[in-house]
Subunit: 216 residues, 4 copies
DNA sequence: AATGAATGAGCTTTCATTCAT
DNA sequence: AATGAATGAAAGCTCATTCAT
């Protein structure tokens, strides 16, 4: 709709491509990459098997494109959310809080994508396309940037921003996967809030929870 | 014959099985489960293809056994380390610190196992054997127990111990994977220490930096 | 394209399936079920190995389909032959004579099918598909019906029609197999005629062989 | 027991061989040749897998030996029975009657052997060892000889003795297999008697029923 | 003589990919 | 552009056979 005025060919193509990616997300999520067959993806998308190959050179590229595209969207959305957040004191703390919430919410909403991402991390092993790696890197980089700045501003403790970014990402994903897939529970606002809290203030109480220690 | 003082057959059987598991770890780690072939595992182990099937009913069971066995060992070792830790003040904080260090050290040492574990989380999707799930659960449970007790004793802030355990586990693994596989760096003591710190005290400084607040 | 006047695709599908069944008949007949490989069947049919699996879910189903289909054709043809036969006196004797001749002629013509059938009786043991059993049963039933009626009309002696039908079937097949495969001779009209005679009048002369007793 | 006085070695060996053949009969009968595994035969016989190869050079040779040996015994027994039969008028008719009865009784008693024989006819296809073929031939030859003589003496009608022998053999086996395996019934004396009757006098009544014509 | 751990050839089957229509 | 019939490489698994003990 927003992509052009002419729907005769352009949109149709674009539509097919997205149809296939959507189908792929469902199927990959349900079966995992290797158990998923191109045929099932095509059927789910309502197109012929050969058509998949008109839009993607291989099954693997479907996965790569899927991850890449979804991650790019997410990265953009995450950036917006982060930028929108706070401009006053404790600027970066707030930004990070928003970043974490954002991710938890995405995971809560999109079980499928969570499964695809967490599953296919290892599915393709180290051979996971460079493009995928970069997309992941770019996503993490948003958080990393917040941390780096926050650290520079003295809001955050002195940690390697890259390590911290990965760690926080892992916290979010594992908590979500653990509760969702492992324990079979639904993510609640309380869960989101606890994860945020844990990231920001750690688990040790006396450590002076942000709130308590803030002092004068 | 070659590995110890008493090797009267016993070792041979046990040896073969372990030989295969070791080989499987290498190959799964290098190729991922699906790309790995039984033939390559057998070759790596220095046995015939059929021999693998003498000890395991299927390729998948090799993976399950591998994860299960390694995780059980680790769980036992983790328990020891945790029990050994601290008996005085800040008991559980110290226990948790040890638990985290322990895991980081394991990951630092055993890149292969890290890859297998992180990769194969999703590799087999939800169908990952119940035994595997239980083994994972048991491992996480050790940390969860520490957190639960520490929370009850008032050392830790009021978080869902299960969620916290998953989150901390994710922090550790992701930090390790991110730096190791993602960034290509080697884990250092400093990294370990930062992850411990992050878990315990969070990222926000003013919250009364762990270090600052701790001291008398 | 090459086989008839109207071939718009229909024939192509039907053609491939039949091609495979024909090839299977040859190969099964030459090697027996277990020695036959899907690859050889495919090669013989002039198609790719995978193509066999487009038309049949498994090698075994190829055999089942082959037997089932051929037997159904034969059953139909046998019924026609039987119905066409005699309407006057000694009606059923004539019908039976035709039934026996028919089978001998089929066996004479189609050595391959004879081999497949006789071989694969035991090839698959008791597990031979229910469909196969039914197809066999249906074939024998034609003869059985003739016997039952003939017995009721008083033309035949008082024997269990089912037993008699099986026995006669065995006579035909074994005579054919024995001479053909066992002795390496070709079936002649004289052989056919003798089998018919044996079935109808038994071996004992005085028993009033049709010929002997009839005469003056 | 009857085989010698010394049981230390000789008999033990002989015993093992027979043990294996008995086990093979059971297993082949239950599973068919190809589904049967050497391991199961060994287990059933209560010996080690390797031991089978001490007595037989291959799995196939176990089958060949089994068929050969059993058939030789049967041939001997059949000869005795035939010789014992009748010495007066209608000598050969009686001999043949005994031959048929004998076979039906064997089949009635030894379902296993029936299955092995009927199954493995085709199981091994034309490649069935020459020795097996000869053993079969020898068995059929007994009946054939009776027929040949009976024909010469004018008791039997003028049929090719070889063909007649095969046909009668087929009648017997198929009737037994059909009723037993196909219909699931047990063979009775009545069945035996009907098969004898059918072979001797055929199915057509007027031909001068066996009974009627036999007369004085 | 007896064993059974070890082997690897060879099978069926799957499915990504191609290409004629 | 769209299709799906056809393909064949590739892999898991079985089991007859061997041979060190």
């Amino acid at each position: 709709m927003e992509r052009g005025q002419l729907d005769g060919g352009e949109t149709k193509e674009a539509g097919k491509r997205d149809l296939i990616l959507d189908a792929a997300q469902q199927v990959f999520s349900k079966k995992g990459f290797h158990q998923a067959t191109v045929e099932e993806i095509a059927e789910t998308a309502g197109v012929g098997k050969g058509t998949v190959y008109l839009y993607f050179p291989s099954k693997r590229e479907v996965l790569v494109a899927l991850i890449e595209e979804r991650l790019k969207e997410l990265t953009r959305a995450l950036e917006e959310r982060v930028e929108a957040a706070g401009a006053g004191l404790r600027n970066y703390t707030e930004k990070l809080r928003q970043a974490i919430s954002f991710q938890m919410e995405v995971l809560r909403r999109s079980q499928d994508f969570l499964t695809v991402m967490s599953g296919d991390i290892g599915e393709l092993g180290q051979e996971l396309d460079k493009r995928t790696r970069e997309a992941r890197r770019a996503f993490v980089a948003v958080v990393e940037a917040v941390i780096r700045e926050g650290t520079r501003k003295g809001e955050f403790r002195n940690l390697d921003p890259c390590l911290a970014a990965y760690a926080i990402e892992g916290m979010i994903i594992h908590a979500a996967v653990g509760l969702t897939i492992g324990e079979g529970t639904q993510l609640t606002d309380e869960h989101v809030s606890q994860v945020v809290d844990l990231c920001l203030h750690g688990i040790v109480r006396g450590s002076g929870s942000a709130h308590a220690c803030n002092g004068p």
